[in-house]
């Protein structure tokens, strides 16, 4: 597991209080082995996740960002994740246009009882970001990209 080999990347997770944060807790209580790269930020609802929070995380140097909420139809506030799904899907299609590789951002749903699913999501996502390696941020290099 990458984090345990001393090559941790900066991965940010926005997890909703009611489902995914509980799911991560369940995974912990069940002592499921997980990579340690992910820094979790607990939010009230995936609908609270302004896509700009994700962008800001990248601008501050994140290598990957994950948003996880309650499954559709299971939102604690009934419809927060329905709005989130539309916004985050637009964001996911847009980020690569600006030069942030596909794969560095994902959104998904994990319920409070799904400790095993959480373990899989966090492991797969961490592996995926490690496969891409550390991210070069805006202003950290030069060259290429000439289209004019």
């Amino acid at each position: 597991m990458p984090g345990m080999e001393g090559t941790e990347l900066r991965i940010i997770g926005f997890l909703c209080n009611w489902c995914s944060y509980g799911g991560a807790d369940t995974a912990g209580v069940s002592r499921f082995k997980q990579p340690t790269d992910l820094r979790i930020i607990r939010v009230p609802c995936s609908g609270r996740v302004d896509p700009l929070l994700v962008v800001k995380a990248f601008m501050e140097g994140a290598d990957g960002v994950l948003v996880s909420g309650c499954h559709p139809r299971d939102c604690h506030y009934s419809e927060g994740n329905f709005y989130a799904r539309r916004r985050l899907e637009v964001l996911k299609r847009f980020l690569p246009f600006m030069g942030i590789e596909p794969g560095r951002f994902e959104y998904t749903w994990v319920s409070a009882s799904e400790g095993a699913r959480w373990q899989k999501v966090v492991t797969d996502f961490t592996d995926q970001v490690h496969a891409l390696g550390p991210r070069r941020n805006f202003g950290e290099g030069n060259g290429g990209g000439d289209i004019r």
């Binding site: 601008m59 329905f82 539309r86």
Partner: protein, 318 residues
Amino acid sequence: MAILDKLKDGVQRELEGLEFVIGWEQGYDPLHASPLFIRTPGDIDRLIWNPLCVHNLASYLPSLKGRRVGILLKGCDSRSVIQLLQEGLIKREEIVIFGIPCRGVVDLSKIKSRIDTSQMRAVSLMDDAVVIEIPQGREEIPLDDVLATKCLSCQYPTPLIYDHLAGEVLPPQRPTEVLYKEVEVIEELDVQDRLAHWERELDRCIRCYACRNACPLCVCQDYCAAESRNPRWLSQRAGVSEKVMWHIMHALHLAGRCTDCGECERACPMDIPIQRIRRKINKEIKELFGYEAGVNPEDTPPLYTFKVEEPTIQEREW
């Protein structure tokens, strides 16, 4: 009757019931038009209509809510009004719209990249050319070569909403395929090259926010998130990542709302090709939700609503 005469005639008849009518007049040099606020019948003579009337006057409307005003709109400008109506930012009964069937407006930076206009003496506008008199002689430029990029793929030359139409309904004349051409050029680059491209282009941004101020759908004014200190989305740092953050902020706040009017890019003093960032989002919104902003006043912007099952969203499996 020519379009301009019809406009003047309509304004003349409506002016009494209105605080003012917004149109265009000749600006500070022969190539520039400026917005004109017609308050008295005497002002009507200053009104002009030609391909130099580039400004989307709808940008004034949100700040005029509660006042009765008239406004001249091209086809593209009318989409901003529809979008503003959809969002309840203006009231239909407060505005009188003078619609103009439009054959296109110029992009001044395209003209300036072809000839040095600093010494120009006069400009005349023909049906299909712009003639500029400079000390070296007369330069005749085909209009199509210097039209604004949005005009080259215009599907709404006739306003979609109006009280008076100055002329006949003009059907679309331009191909749709070219709409996303500039977006596709970037999509064809490697992701790393896209990053380098935006890094280089957006590094010129001086964060003057002219793009925001010109945008008819940017309505937060003093409450703009870009200038908020708490939360502090943007810092005073001058690095390129702050500039990128600003543009992503603008583009995402316009997601599902941007009518592709091009005012942001036109207003930019640094000639940064920023409209394609907004266009990319428009393209995805169209693909995902089959939605085009500012076309139907009864529509709901796609990010203001949802479906329980989203047939077009392919969620990732784990």
